[in-house]
């Protein structure tokens, strides 16, 4: 059982409570966009709600979950005490203060700029300071992860860092790289604008800096799901991980190819040349390699488990898997959604095809399917998997958990399939209201109502999830839970190449790729008179 269980639980609880509230906002947003009469149907409220939903899901839920999970992995995978426990609590405190500042700014209607900021709109300074504090908290977490791995390596020369920890540190390293872009945007562009030190802002540069962060941050959210695929699912299925090396390789490839690719969010932007857009597109395409490596490795691991359980024939092993276990079920459902979400993503990242769906509901559907589907589903499974070792109370049955996972997966499909369809019809995103009396779009109405039904299913599932985690009075008396064990590889590594036991080489390669992909595109803003935009202040009223 982890010694710092209070620390880990504090992170998880904050993440999940904010998550449930954000789900409720999401349902209301779908309601407002639908032809049905919704309460508080004012555009201003809509943008306020979208901001709260985005910030809660993208910054609060993810960051706190990942930090808590990182502390759990550092203790249980390394089987050592966490270094800098005080620092960890300090990081938590800083991030909580940041969350409070941000939430209060949004609630006061002073920060309806959406979670992607969109300069030249600016919010109150407290909104940005709050978010910076959340990031500072996460930087402390990154440092603690690096220290924990370094001390393990120092005390165990020649012993491979366990895969779960190696992957967690890969995520921490990636996060440090990722946050450079948005930190530069906030510190050097947005804060001077908010404070009135500048009257105009270079939106091209700020969009470029945000794109640096915008794609890698998605992989920051995604990697815990992959950690669960590699180090939890095979064991939960009753087997072993097919290849430890494949796992390490996948995580370093994510580190390499999640960063120099953000410009694929700017394909329709005028400030960059076609050549750099092409370079970043081709690097984006390489993200499919670790994804496919993972699909192969995890499928192979599950096949091993299925055959050990008596599965025969070409596909008989699938039926033999223990689908009643939440981790196995969630892995299956997450893989299913990964195919759809990944397929949509290939269209988004293709320079030409992107033009069809840019700024339509298709994009919203894509990231809800990948993040809300695959990633969140695995967050649920991770919570179910490690909760007994944190609370010392085993769950009485997994029936409710299975129902909750199914409800989430089905709800997400019901919500996102109409969105994808409407995106292809041209339904624009980031719009508060539609005039369904217009014959050109009146046919969209019923599809939006279907999405709303999916949203309601998701909200019910989210509330059920939180309810399942609350310790019950009738639960069995606290008992010392067995130490949590991660999945072993078929051939556990005795010695791995230094390249796959650390990040020195990969940091150098990331730096090379970032200079090649972002060097000139950022430099060009300083070479001549870049056009400036008037700042539109959304706070102070």
């Amino acid at each position: 059982m982890p010694i710092n269980r209070r620390l880990i639980l504090a992170h998880f609880w904050l993440a999940f409570v904010v998550f449930a509230a954000a789900c409720a906002l999401g349902v209301w947003q779908m309601w407002v966009r639908s032809p049905l009469a919704a309460p508080q149907d004012v555009p201003e409220r809509y943008y306020q709600s979208v901001t709260a939903h985005g910030v809660s899901m993208a910054y609060v839920l993810t960051t706190f979950f990942i930090m808590g999970f990182g502390y759990f992995v550092a203790e249980t995978a390394l089987k050592r005490e966490l270094p800098g426990k005080t620092w960890a609590w300090a990081a938590y405190g800083i991030a909580v203060v940041g969350v409070l500042m941000t939430v209060m700014s949004i609630a006061a209607g002073q920060a309806s700029v959406l979670y992607t900021f969109y300069p030249p709109m600016t919010a109150t300074i407290w909104f940005y300071v709050g978010l910076v504090l959340v990031v500072v908290g996460s930087w402390i977490w990154c440092a603690l992860m690096l220290v924990a791995m370094a001390r393990f390596k120092r005390d165990n020369p020649g012993v491979p860092v366990p895969l779960a920890m190696y992957a967690t540190v890969a995520n921490a390293v990636m996060w440090l790289w990722t946050t450079v872009g948005v930190a530069a945007e906030i510190l050097f562009q947005i804060i001077p604008a908010v404070m009135g030190w500048t009257q105009t802002i270079d939106v091209g540069l700020s969009r470029t800096l945000f794109s640096w962060t915008l794609h890698a941050i998605v992989y920051f959210w995604l990697l815990p799901a992959y950690i669960a695929f590699y180090t939890m699912a095979p064991r939960a299925a009753g087997g072993r991980l097919y290849s430890d090396t494949m796992g390490r390789l996948s995580f370093v490839l994510f580190l390499l190819y999640s960063l120099p690719v953000g410009m694929h969010h700017l394909f329709m932007d005028p400030e960059h040349s076609t050549g750099f857009k092409f370079v970043q597109m081709s690097l984006t395409a390489l993200v499919s390699i670790p994804t496919l490596l993972t699909v192969f490795t995890i499928s192979a691991s599950l096949e091993l488990a299925g055959r050990l359980r008596g599965g025969k024939g070409l596909l008989g092993w699938i039926r033999a898997l223990p689908w009643d276990r939440p981790m196995v079920l969630a892995t299956g459902l997450a893989f299913f959604m990964l195919w759809f979400g990944g397929g949509g993503g290939l269209i988004n990242m293709s320079y030409g095809m992107n033009a069809m769906i840019h700024n339509t509901s298709w994009v919203t559907a894509h990231f809800h399917l990948i993040f809300g589907g695959t990633v969140i589903l695995m967050y649920f499974a991770i919570a179910y998997e490690i909760w007994p070792s944190l609370t010392r109370q085993p769950f009485r049955s997994a029936t409710l958990q299975r129902f909750q996972l199914w409800l989430w997966a089905v709800g997400m499909m019901v919500m996102t399939i109409p969105w994808h369809f409407l995106g292809l019809q041209g339904q624009w995103r980031r719009v508060a209201t539609f005039d369904y009396s217009d014959p050109r779009i009146s046919a969209w109405g019923p599809w939006v109502v279907v999405s709303l039904v999916g949203g309601v299913m998701l909200l019910v599932s989210a509330l059920l999830f939180v309810w399942i985690l609350i310790p019950k009075r009738y639960s069995p008396a606290p008992a010392p839970a067995p130490t949590y064990a991660f999945a072993l590889a078929v051939h556990p590594p005795h010695r791995v190449p230094a390249a796959l036991n650390g990040f020195f080489l990969w940091n150098i390669l990331v730096a090379v790729l970032m200079v090649a992909a972002y060097g000139f595109p950022i430099l060009q803003f300083f070479m001549g008179d870049a056009p400036q935009a008037v700042i539109h202040r959304l706070s102070g009223g």
Partner: protein, 271 residues
């Protein structure tokens, strides 16, 4: 003790570097050389220009230029929100502004911006860019008024900015604001939510403090109803034309006279 660097480790570094460099070289070659060269003939570009455009060293798209239009568009308002204009507003000194206001403006608009007559607009708490733009439009002839045209023409650009900064400094209490609950009343609904079926955006998406709308959009709360009604009617008939992109002419044109009258009352705060 650090791990000894083995031959295997060196091989990993070498091959990882080679593969990443290879991938990068491939994308650079295709993105900056192959595709530009392949597409250059279609766009009537020579090879070197095509490569420079792909890198971003030359601007523009390779599209054929459109035939030029002979008529030159004359903008109604001469005000442009350039960094230079914003700098003038930002640097405006309030003290000469106060002196000018009391000498030139106070008779009608009040020393603190509270006007004495129903058809004279309140200036207290109005945003500085709004006052500046209207004065500049009077000066350029984009907007006309028997008294205001002469007043504005007698002042310099910097003086206009000083007066604007002075009146903007009086923050009046907003009787109505952005955080109002949505009543069922159709006029309040128009202000807060607009009317998509007529293509009308909510008034508040531009006309509230910190709405993020265009700088020239005035704050309407507490403004005099008579003045608001006369201006909306002037926009509707086309008598007043100094609105950028003819936004207000389009909006007012879609409103009924009854709605105009009630919106005026609504924003004055007596509705």
């Amino acid at each position: 003790m650090p791990d000894p660097v083995t031959r295997e480790d060196r091989r990993w570094s070498l091959w990882a570097g080679v593969i990443v460099a290879g991938v990068l070289t491939f994308s650079l070659l295709v993105g900056f050389v192959v595709l530009p060269l392949a597409q250059a003939p279609n766009a009537n570009l020579d090879a070197w220009t095509a490569i420079c455009r792909a890198v971003g060293l030359q601007p523009g798209t390779p599209a054929q230029p459109q035939p030029p239009v002979s008529a030159t568009a004359a903008p109604v308002s001469q005000v442009r929100w350039t960094p230079a204009t914003l700098q003038i507003l930002d640097a405006a000194d309030l003290r000469p502004g106060a002196a000018l206001a009391s000498a030139v403006c106070a008779d009608c608009h009040g020393a603190e911006g509270f006007s004495t007559s129903a058809d004279v607009p309140q200036l207290a708490g109005q945003s500085a860019p709004v006052i500046y733009k209207q004065l500049t439009d009077y000066r350029s002839g984009a907007r006309a008024h028997p008294q205001m045209t002469d007043v504005a023409k007698a002042l310099t650009e910097v003086q206009l900015a000083q007066i604007a900064a002075y009146y903007a400094g009086y923050r009046k209490h907003d009787a109505l604001g952005r955080s109002q609950e949505l009543p069922s009343d159709p006029i309040a609904r128009l202000a807060h939510r607009g009317d998509p079926s007529r293509g009308l955006a909510p008034c508040e998406s531009c006309h509230a403090r910190a709405s993020g709308g265009p700088p020239e959009a005035p704050i309407l709360t507490g403004q005099r109803a008579d003045y608001l009604v006369s201006q909306m009617k002037a926009f509707k008939t086309g008598q007043r034309r100094n609105d950028v992109y003819r936004r207000m002419r389009d909006v007012a044109g879609a409103l009924t006279d009854d709605e105009i009258a009630r919106l005026g009352q609504f924003y004055q705060g007596v509705y």
